[in-house]
């Protein structure tokens, strides 16, 4: 029996010719990642265990992004711990404020993830790098601590859901709508313990930013990872960002899947996930009249350049509703700079939106846009759990940058077509 894409990547890193689903393996890691929330515990465990050196100072990345720039004294202490550990261990990929970005936008941009890699990160959205044809998955702080010392991690080889994409997305539809549509179909545990493997001729019609968004939210379907087979577009992206050599793995023709789903990209409509689960999806024409208090455009899901371009296209020449606070977070310094050069930031500010330095901030209810009791937000982030962005009685509606921007203008959840005729 053949292997899936994920199984092939894992087998290669475990030094095995073949692996099968359910098998326990130890795999060599190409990158170990942590942030200012998860790495402090990992560093504590690392030291408690008496570990003194890291396995490879070029294969560890530490990014203060969640409560950074430091939101309070406790957060400042955590970021300081990352900084000092990085200095002590001579870690090459520590990204200070001014260089940093939201980790999952930053790592591909810095060329630290390439096709064929096995990557773990103490952050659930580490699955983002599957967009590049890497196996990447979220773990906890203890896994991170051990991996920093040994360069290895244990895995149970997953089976996979095969998602065949056909056709081309319509106007105002983006990767966010596609992944929300899929999660709506299969549920928040629809791919539990499994890989989501994307294939089909429709993949060629998806930009890298669309693929990053789709892979990013694999965890919201319970998946271990989401993965796209690397194609010409992937290899071009990698050659522009990394000096490392990509290794392209393809699924065997006779690979076995637990389930096969076909998606016609042309039939996907702008999609919104209602509180309090990402699976509570409705297409834009089934929304009704929902007034909102805040719009957030950004995060590891949707803070990339194409997301900002899409938001600017909708906001250009329009004004944010007087009852709405619109906050926009370019995901990295490089994206921020490019958005400035393209005039996107000017469009946002002229429209009455606030533009912030990169941070995970409001996505997890950290800072920079917390919701009060009873408030509603349209957000391009990834989770709408109870209390995720603030008060337990606030509500989050997950959507694409285009829908979020349109909603900022009208003050209610809206289709971009309502504001751009």
């Amino acid at each position: 029996m053949g292997m899936t894409m994920t199984q092939k990547v894992l087998a290669a890193h475990a030094g095995l010719d073949k692996v099968h689903s359910g098998q326990m393996i130890m795999a060599k890691l190409d990158l170990v990642l942590g942030n200012d929330i998860t790495a402090p515990i990992a560093i504590e465990e690392f030291e408690k265990a008496g570990m003194v050196t890291v396995f490879d100072k070029s294969k560890i990345a530490l990014v203060p992004d969640h409560f950074a720039p430091n939101k309070d004294i406790k957060s400042a202490e955590n970021c300081k711990l990352l900084r000092e550990f990085s200095r002590e261990m001579d870690i090459e990929n520590y990204f200070e404020i001014g260089q940093m970005g939201i980790e999952h936008a930053l790592i591909p941009e810095k060329g630290l993830a390439v096709p064929g890699d096995v990557i773990i990160g103490a952050d659930s959205h580490t699955c983002t790098y599957g967009a590049l044809g890497a196996f990447s998955t979220g773990v906890g702080s203890t896994d991170m601590a051990v991996a920093m010392a040994t360069g290895e991690a244990w895995f149970k080889v997953p089976e996979a859901v095969k998602i065949v994409l056909r056709g081309k997305m319509g106007k105002w539809v983006s990767g966010k709508d596609v992944i929300l549509h899929i999660i709506g179909m299969i549920g928040v545990d629809g791919a539990l313990y499994q890989s989501m493997e994307y294939c089909g001729e429709g993949v060629a019609n998806l930009s890298m930013d669309d693929r990053f968004t789709i892979a990013n939210m694999a965890i919201e379907a319970g998946a271990k990872n989401g993965i796209f087979e690397a194609d010409d577009r992937t290899l071009k992206y990698v050659s522009e960002h990394s000096k490392r050599v990509p290794v392209v793995f393809k699924a065997d023709k006779d690979a076995k899947y637990s389930r096969v789903i076909e998606i016609d990209l042309a039939a996907v409509k702008p999609t919104v996930a209602f509180p309090h689960l990402p699976e509570n999806t409705r297409s834009i024409d089934e929304i009704g009249d929902i007034r909102i208090d805040q719009v957030v455009i950004g995060s590891c899901t949707n803070g990339r350049l194409e997301d900002l371009r899409m938001a600017a296209k909708v906001l250009k020449g329009n004004k944010v509703d007087q009852d709405v606070r619109a906050i926009i977070f370019p995901a990295t310094q490089r994206i921020y700079l490019q958005a400035m050069r393209e005039g996107l930031l000017e469009i946002f500010i002229e429209a009455g939106a606030a533009v912030s330095t990169p941070t995970c901030g409001p996505c997890l209810g950290g800072h920079m846009g917390i919701l009060a009791k009873g408030e509603k937000a349209v957000s391009t982030t990834n989770r709408n759990f109870v209390g995720r962005m603030g008060h337990t009685e606030s509500e989050i509606y997950l959507a694409s940058p285009a829908v979020a921007a349109a909603s900022a203008i009208t003050g209610k959840i809206s289709s971009p077509e309502e504001v751009i005729k």
Partner: protein
């Protein structure tokens, strides 16, 4: 042998309600634990006693990878979580910190809030003393059993290194 009272919850209990992100800047573990389950059950931390258990439905621990979630549950005195299924990062984290978790849909569906439960981790047998029902959970692969026995991955690695 684990023997205690059950706190019962539903499906998709996420790590944001187990330990809200607004507390993740706290490094003092006792202070962090005082907020355990706060956004789903504000009385949990007042009521929980060492030896108690949690039972829940599908996809327990979904969402963020924060290890703070199983950590505060363990520090609150909970000795075992029984669920229909667990989100995979939570599952990993619980094993890695030595918090026993059992997947047993039959038990997870039948057990009610306040039931007295006995768990034998070696056999995977779960006894509902209140109802007089017995359920059998799937046993862990040997590799995971060894991590749990060592009370977590760090100790497991230490023991393995020491035996070389």
């Amino acid at each position: 042998m684990i023997n205690g009272r059950v706190f019962k919850y539903g499906d998709n209990v996420d790590t944001d309600v187990i330990i809200p992100a607004r507390y993740l800047n706290i490094t003092d573990r006792a202070e962090l634990t005082s907020h355990c389950m706060e956004d789903i059950d504000s009385e949990f931390i007042m009521k929980v006693k060492s030896g108690d258990l949690i039972a829940a439905g599908k996809n327990f621990g979904c969402g963020s990878s924060r290890e703070h979630a199983p950590m505060v549950i363990k520090l609150s005195g909970i000795k075992c979580i029984i669920a229909e299924t667990f989100a995979r990062i939570f599952y990993r984290n619980a094993i890695n910190i030595g918090l026993p978790i059992l997947e047993c849909p039959e038990a997870a569906k039948d057990i009610e809030d306040g039931d007295r439960i006995e768990v034998d981790l070696n056999s995977g047998l779960i006894t509902n003393i209140t109802k007089g029902h017995i359920y059998r959970a799937e046993s862990f692969p040997e590799f995971m059993q060894n991590i749990i026995k060592a009370e977590g991955l760090i100790n497991y690695i230490k023991v393995k290194a020491g035996s070389l």
